[in-house]
């Protein structure tokens, strides 16, 4: 399967997915850890995709969202943001509201 199609399938078939460095149990970058921890605190199930295991996936996700950095959070197919935006949304309560609206909590 083409990498872009593969990516689309992952994003569409997981309600919450986090493209990250490392895995949720063992993040390998502070920013990936921060977002992963926020999702854990909010007690939601999410799929962590380790881009360090797949260099073409790492490049493809950056092009997909036109966003140069990892982590990247997707909720129901929609790009929500990277670490800074997710942190801001968590602190303001906006992220929880979004999850409630999407019926994920």
């Amino acid at each position: 399967m083409d990498i872009k199609e593969n990516l689309k399938t992952i994003i569409d078939s997981n309600e919450i997915c986090l493209f990250m460095k490392g895995v949720p149990e063992a993040p390998q970058c502070g920013f990936s850890m921060a977002v992963s921890n926020i999702l854990k605190v909010l007690n939601v199930n999410f799929k962590g995709i380790n881009v360090l295991e797949n260099e073409s996936m790492r490049q493809a996700i950056k092009e997909y969202s036109d966003w140069p950095t990892i982590p990247q959070l997707y909720i129901k197919g929609e790009f929500v943001g990277g670490c800074d935006i997710v942190k801001e949304m968590f602190e303001s309560g906006e992220l929880k509201k979004l999850l409630i609206k999407k019926e994920l909590v």
């Binding site: 920013f31 950056k62 036109d66 966003w67 140069p68 950095t69 990277g82 800074d84 935006i85």
Partner: protein, 76 residues
């Protein structure tokens, strides 16, 4: 090659001339920064769009020479 605070500011100002920029070197290694950027061009834009405008001003350096730049944006 790491970027200095002055180089980052210069790049942002080139694309966003009215920007008020405050940059901190978080650990003193010229590699982990945080930046607060205030500009009129952010008005009415989503946070994702605002951050993309800052990334674009850095001309591909973000995620390459510039490893870590935490961004906060605000309209004015």
């Amino acid at each position: 090659m790491a970027l200095s605070i002055e180089e980052i500011k210069k790049l942002i100002i080139e694309s966003i001339p009215d920007a008020t920029i405050e940059i901190k070197d978080l650990v003193g290694d010229s590699n982990h920064y945080s930046a607060k950027i205030i500009s009129k061009i952010f008005n009415g834009k989503s946070r994702i769009e605002q951050h993309k405008m800052v990334y674009k001003s850095l001309k591909g350096k973000m995620g390459n020479e510039l490893h870590a730049l935490s961004i906060t944006t605000e309209g004015k």
